[in-house]
């Protein structure tokens, strides 16, 4: 008896634990059952010297509303969904500057801006559309990036699903029904963790050396000419900052120049009397921090052997005018020679090259061009760019609108021709002579398809430096390419320190739920209650008779009468 009772108890206890486990499992089941899930990209969150900027939050759980909301509505718990096509820039800027409370912002970008978009770029009215939106997008980006926004801001691409949802939201808004907990509508949910600081963001500089050959009997150190370009970007949405023009075009041009000169230098007979140093630097948007750290590591001897440096910045979308920016006075011998060389090649190509001189202010920490960093380290340098004026901090560093459609590989090819030809003529001493070294159709011709395919790669790789890890495959690919073209490659990894601090969480999934209101459920409860009551009465009448139904209600009162 005792043992069987104990056995029973054990069985019961194990059953209890099984039942408890089932309850726990069942309570935890929460499937993703959204109407749709959309990839969204968050606005950047960063601090400059402790001042918080960008969007400070990542998780979102509010109702959606479009721009047609009724005036005077309380938007502190709604997410405004704004397609860029219908952007009211003044409204958004005012909202941000007045720091009015908002649940969140969701911007919808036209599909053409997506770098995963495989459509061709030849459509002319798409180009026109792009131009229209590009300027408003640039302005929007600037205002977003330089403001402190206490709510999440996300970017998403339009597609059929999203457009249908937006149309629905607009319809609801126009009918005056503001979406809240009691009136149904759409709910946008992004479940993301609290964004954390990126502990030690790294910047990686890659240098490649092409060694020249000394003349017989020459004991001096060979002079060096450097060609430098920064390859990283900064934009409103770091997961979308591909920076095809700023500065993908510069990096690709550098690779092409390296390829051409490696062909020349591979044969000892055509090796020049100069060393060539190719530098792919990082940290460009942050006052060329990477370049600064790189140059800091040079000792006096190395500094003296570098004659001058040519920096390439944004050479992908120009038509017939380029600018050479300098900070040393144009009477400087190297600069004079370089400019004359490039002007003569420009004449042959039928383009114009202008010279712009901007003195640097040592007390101002802002470094607008890469050559200014060289000047601060007492080296001569010039920047070749399609821009005629310097950009401000974090401007024109590869934002949302800087995609593949805005660079032209022919522009890059012509810039490569300019630089390579003038450099080669200087190295081999053919200035003033009518010789075209990199002639079209020759084995040294500039290869537009090489440029095109590298531009394609760069246009699909977001390259914001703090989010590139130490051994990022893209950085390694750049290193490998440079290794193919040069004799020696050195990678230098530094920590990006100084004014800038970055936060993670750049990409998330947005779940869109279509929710019914509480009033709907209350109504449903009412209907169901009355249905069940009607069913009950019907069954009682049918099976027991009408008298029984009436007696059900009368019995308590008759009892009361009895007891009284």
């Amino acid at each position: 008896m005792e043992s069987s009772k104990q056995g029973h108890r054990e069985v019961l206890e194990s059953m209890y634990s099984v039942i408890a486990l089932i309850f726990v499992l069942v309570a935890c089941v929460e499937l993703g059952d959204a109407a749709s899930a959309v990839d969204v990209y968050r606005l950047i969150q960063y601090d400059i010297s402790g001042v918080p900027l960008g969007s400070r939050f990542a998780s979102l759980n509010h109702h959606a509303s479009s721009m047609h909301f009724s005036p005077g509505a309380d938007l502190s718990r709604t997410v405004l969904v704004i397609p860029i096509r219908e952007l009211d820039l003044s409204f958004v800027k005012e909202y941000i500057s007045r720091r009015q409370p908002l649940g969140g912002l969701l911007f919808l970008l036209p599909q053409i801006f997506s770098f995963e978009n495989k459509e061709g770029t030849g459509d002319s009215d798409k180009h026109h559309e792009l131009e229209l939106h590009k300027n408003s997008l640039l302005e929007l980006e600037q205002s977003l990036v330089h403001a402190n926004i206490p709510y999440p801001v996300y970017f998403a691409f339009e597609d059929d699903n999203v457009n249908a949802i937006l149309a629905d939201i607009k319809r609801n808004d126009v009918s005056g029904q503001q979406a809240t907990a009691t009136t149904g509508g759409y709910k946008l949910v992004v479940s993301a963790a609290e964004p954390k600081k990126i502990a030690s963001p790294v910047i990686t500089n890659i240098q490649g050396w092409l060694y020249g050959s000394k003349a017989d009997g020459d004991t001096n150190q060979l002079p060096t000419i450097a060609i430098v370009a920064s390859y990283d970007t900064f934009g409103a949405a770091p997961a979308l900052s591909v920076g095809s023009d700023s500065n993908g075009s510069g990096a690709v041009a550098l690779l092409e120049i390296a390829r051409l000169f490696s062909i020349l230098y591979s044969n000892p007979k055509t090796r020049g009397r100069y060393n060539l140093l190719f530098g792919l630097t990082s940290g460009g948007p942050y006052n060329y921090n990477g370049t600064h750290k790189w140059l800091r590591g040079f000792d006096q001897r190395q500094r003296e052997t570098i004659d001058y440096a040519i920096c390439l910045n944004s050479i992908g979308s120009w038509d017939n005018e380029l600018y050479v920016h300098v900070s040393k006075p144009p009477e400087n011998a190297y600069i004079k020679q370089f400019f004359e060389g490039i002007s003569s090649v420009a004449e042959e190509l039928g383009v114009k090259v202008g010279l712009k001189h901007k003195k640097i202010n040592i007390s101002n920490s802002r470094v607008a061009w890469e050559h200014e960093q060289f000047s601060r380290h007492r080296m001569t340098a010039a920047t070749l760019s399609e821009l005629s004026v310097a950009s401000g901090l974090l401007e024109r560093t590869g934002g949302l609108s800087d995609g593949r459609h805005f660079v032209n590989e022919n522009s890059v090819a012509r810039a490569v021709k300019l630089v390579a030809e003038s450099l080669a003529r200087h190295i081999y001493g053919y200035q003033g002579k009518n010789i075209e070294i990199f002639a079209d159709g020759s084995s040294l011709a500039i290869n537009p398809s090489y440029i095109g395919s590298w531009l394609n790669l760069l246009s699909q790789t977001p390259r914001v430096a703090p989010f590139l890890l130490k051994n990022d495959p893209f950085v390694l690919a750049l290193k490998k390419e440079l290794t193919d073209h040069t004799d020696e490659v050195i990678m230098q990894t530094e920590v990006l320190e100084g004014m800038f601090t970055f936060y993670d969480s750049t990409k998330a999934t947005l779940n869109v739920y279509q929710v019914a209101s509480v009033t709907f459920d209350l109504l449903l409860l009412l209907v169901l209650g009355s249905y069940l009551i009607v069913l009950f009465s019907f069954l009682v009448i049918v099976t027991r008779g009408l008298d029984d139904l009436i007696s059900l209600f009368r019995r308590p009162s008759s009892r009361k009468v009895k007891t009284a």
Binding site: L31, D33, V518, Y531, L535, S537, L539
Partner: protein, 229 residues
């Protein structure tokens, strides 16, 4: 608010069973035991059906109506009828009249069906944020199913438990029983081959269940008249 919705849909799906039990004389005669036994028989039947389906049916990739597969499914559906036969005739019940026996068994059968087929989707789906009409339609379907089960149980008790039936009514009884038993095949045919949407199918089920209920009620009372005198 979504647990609220789950609560609403649960009331719609399972409420009528409780209401039926308390409203009709079933509660007075305490036939709960019979209902529970019927529910357990349904469980066993469902398991047997599962095994047969898994063994004999090919899984088709597309959602088309395949006559041979559907015929097989209908045949396996007759296991349902066999289970009901078992519940009606073989189980020993307390001394309750014919009238209440089939009702209790039909109720238990329908309740087990609802719990097995509808509770899990309801728990997992209705608690989410996303709102669909599916769960309300599912509840309505559960109601229709209740009526179907009770009609089937009535016809079953007529077929197997009543010995003296008017000769003319026998074919009608068997025909109605056949229709009710093949109802799942008919609905799947409508859904797949004709492409009816869920609300339309549920409406059809509701309508036919009411028709069947009226017909079986008439048949039952017609068969009851000779013996009640």
């Amino acid at each position: 608010m979504t647990v609220f919705h789950f609560f609403n849909c649960a009331i719609l799906t399972f409420g009528p069973h409780a209401v039926y039990y308390s409203a009709t004389p079933l509660s007075e005669y305490d036939t709960l035991g019979t209902s529970i036994k019927a529910a357990l028989v349904y469980l066993g039947t469902a398991l047997v059906k599962l095994v047969c389906l898994a063994t004999f049916l090919n899984v088709s990739e597309n959602d088309n109506f395949d006559p041979s597969q559907e015929l097989l499914k209908a045949l396996i559906g007759f296991i349902d009828v066999a289970g009901l036969y078992f519940a009606l005739t073989q189980l020993t019940h307390r001394n309750i009249s014919q009238n209440h026996k089939f009702q209790a068994i039909g109720l238990g059968w329908a309740f087990a069906d609802s719990v097995l087929h509808r509770l899990a989707p309801l728990w997992v789906g209705a608690r989410g944020l996303e709102f669909t009409w599916d769960f309300i339609l599912q509840g309505i379907e559960a109601n229709a199913n209740l009526v179907f089960s009770i009609s089937l149980a009535a016809l079953g008790s007529l077929m197997w438990l009543r010995k003296n039936k008017p000769k003319t009514l026998i074919p009608i009884i068997y025909a109605c029983a056949g229709i009710v038993a093949t109802m799942p095949s008919i609905t799947s045919y409508l859904r797949r081959s004709l492409g009816w949407h869920f609300p339309k199918v549920v409406g059809f089920e509701l309508f036919t269940s009411l028709m069947m209920a009226i017909i079986s009620w008439q048949l039952f009372s017609a068969c009851q008249r000779p013996s009640s005198t």
